[in-house]
């Protein structure tokens, strides 16, 4: 890993509690431009909470998150502006069912980035073409399959021209035969140099495109390394146990 690339997200001592439940107990992480950070861990380990803290969908109870040089955990920061630069893809797709695919994709660019309708639609169609869904531009989300929905959700986020993409278990709600098409889009994104943070159970994806893999367990990062060491030479006993179950 080269270290001269710009640090995009720096997480220091991140903590999150839900009432009595202490989910994140101090997480440090550094994501550089072009990185693909894959976050793995058992369910309930806090990996999704970690991801959701990065764009403050969950408000951390401790620690700081610095995004592009700005401490976004500072209450005086307008998080809406920074979220525009952080695309997010959800397990349940969360497309807007009352709007067509095209409207789903142009809503943000026209209202938030003040692009003209024509400009936003042109960009949206280009993105749809890249994921093979240009013919679905005027369809409503309910007319799409799960895999198609998730590909639309990805390009909806991309339409905002984000600097980083956050993926929260993007293939976990899909039928098995649709997982491939979504992973393919994500791999393509990674190849194009998009900075990505991906929470997933897809170990094949992690191994293939991850630049750093972190293992979250009991609210802390127990191990972090490159894909080769992570899978072939795990150090932490909990990780060894985890890998033996999922591989």
């Amino acid at each position: 890993m080269t270290t001269d690339r710009e640090v995009l997200i720096e997480v220091q001592g991140l903590q999150k509690s839900f009432g009595e439940l202490h989910v994140l107990k101090g997480i440090d992480a550094e994501i550089r431009r072009g990185d693909v950070m894959v976050v793995v861990g058992a369910s309930g380990s806090g990996k999704s909470t970690f991801l959701r803290c990065l764009n403050l969908l969950e408000h951390p109870t401790g620690g700081t998150i610095t995004f592009e040089g700005v401490n976004i955990t500072d209450p005086s920061v307008n998080i809406n502006l920074h979220r525009q630069k952080m695309g997010m893809v959800f397990q349940q797709f969360n497309l807007f069912p009352h709007k067509t695919v095209l409207k789903n994709m142009t809503l943000g660019p026209t209202k938030l980035l003040h692009q003209s309708k024509a400009q936003a639609e042109k960009h949206a169609i280009e993105l749809l073409e890249r994921v093979g869904l240009a013919d679905k531009a005027n369809a409503y989300p309910n007319q799409l399959s799960g895999g198609q929905k998730q590909r639309v959700a990805i390009v909806r986020a991309l339409a905002m021209n984000p600097d980083v993409m956050l993926f929260d278990e993007p293939t976990s709600a899909l039928d098995p035969e649709m997982v491939g098409e979504v992973l393919e889009v994500m791999k393509q994104l990674a190849r194009e140099g998009m900075t990505m943070v991906v929470v997933t159970h897809e170990m094949g994806f992690a191994r293939e495109v991850g630049s750093q893999i972190v293992f979250v367990d009991e609210g802390v990062i127990k191990e972090r390394s490159n894909p080769k060491d992570f899978f072939e030479n795990p150090q932490n006993p909990r990780l060894k146990d985890f890998l033996s179950k999922v591989l």
């Binding site: 408000h59 525009q84 952080m86 969360n94 009352h98």
Partner: protein, 244 residues
């Protein structure tokens, strides 16, 4: 037999034709429509405002932000006011509310109809508020998160994403509320506001004939409600056409 029909005609004539009494019914009908219409507008306005406050408060409670800001305090106070409003309005009979408005608040005013509009509008607002809030709560949290993750603020998220979907879900309940409201305006007769029910009763007392005045009034209400139901169905169908 002939005697029966001629009696019926006399009774009909006394109720509607003599002294141009049908004009009374027309005026009563118009008054009922005016009161119901403006009360519904006020009810929607109040209902949405109260629902906005209550939903905002609920969401802020959930988000678990670290710092307590000035805005949170304001919302908290507004939420208490809204809760008191809903509790009081839903917990007291509409007749009493109209009487309080008419005999106490409007004691020195001659504008009887305004008293009725305010009274029924404030009453309806409490119910509309709970309907709207239930609609907002019925939308999946993921919709909210997806919108926020794009960078939309709370208000834009409500406007572009949550409310359009919520409105579709609550339309039947809202329609029901307006049907109830139209009929409930008959309570205004109690304080002597010359709306439809009052007129029917007035004619009954003048003619000593109960059948035609009361049946006529009942039928007119029924027609209004049928018309309202028809319009709501049409609106519902149009909203659903974007839904596949």
């Amino acid at each position: 037999m002939q005697q029966f029909f001629s009696d019926l005609w006399t009774s009909f004539e006394k109720t509607f034709i003599y002294d141009d009494r049908w004009k009374f019914f027309l005026d009563g009908l118009l008054a009922t429509l005016r009161i119901a219409f403006f009360a519904a507008l006020l009810g929607i306005l109040l209902g949405f405002l109260v629902a906005a406050v209550r939903s905002t408060y609920d969401m802020r409670q959930q988000s678990g932000k670290r710092a307590l800001r000035f805005g949170d305090v304001i919302i908290k106070i507004l939420n208490v006011i809204c809760n008191v409003y809903i509790t009081v309005i839903r917990g007291t009979p509409a007749v009493i509310q109209v009487m309080i408005m008419y005999f106490i608040v409007f004691a020195n005013s001659r504008n009887k109809e305004l008293a009725a509009v305010l009274s029924f509008g404030i009453n309806s607002g409490a119910y509309v508020a709970e309907i709207v809030r239930s609609g907002i709560m019925s939308i999946d949290k993921g919709q909210f998160e997806a919108s926020r993750s794009l960078g939309f603020n709370y208000t834009s998220t409500m406007y572009h994403i949550i409310l359009p979907q919520a409105f579709k879900n609550i339309l039947p309940a809202l329609g029901n509320e307006f049907i109830v409201l139209v009929k409930e305006t008959s309570v205004a007769a109690y304080v002597g506001i010359a709306e439809l029910t009052y007129v029917g009763n007035l004619i009954r007392s003048r003619t000593y004939e109960a059948f035609f005045p009361l049946i006529a009034v009942a039928l007119i209400y029924l027609v209004i409600v049928l018309l309202l139901t028809f319009l709501l169905k049409k609106l519902e169908r149009r909203l659903r056409s974007s839904d596949h």
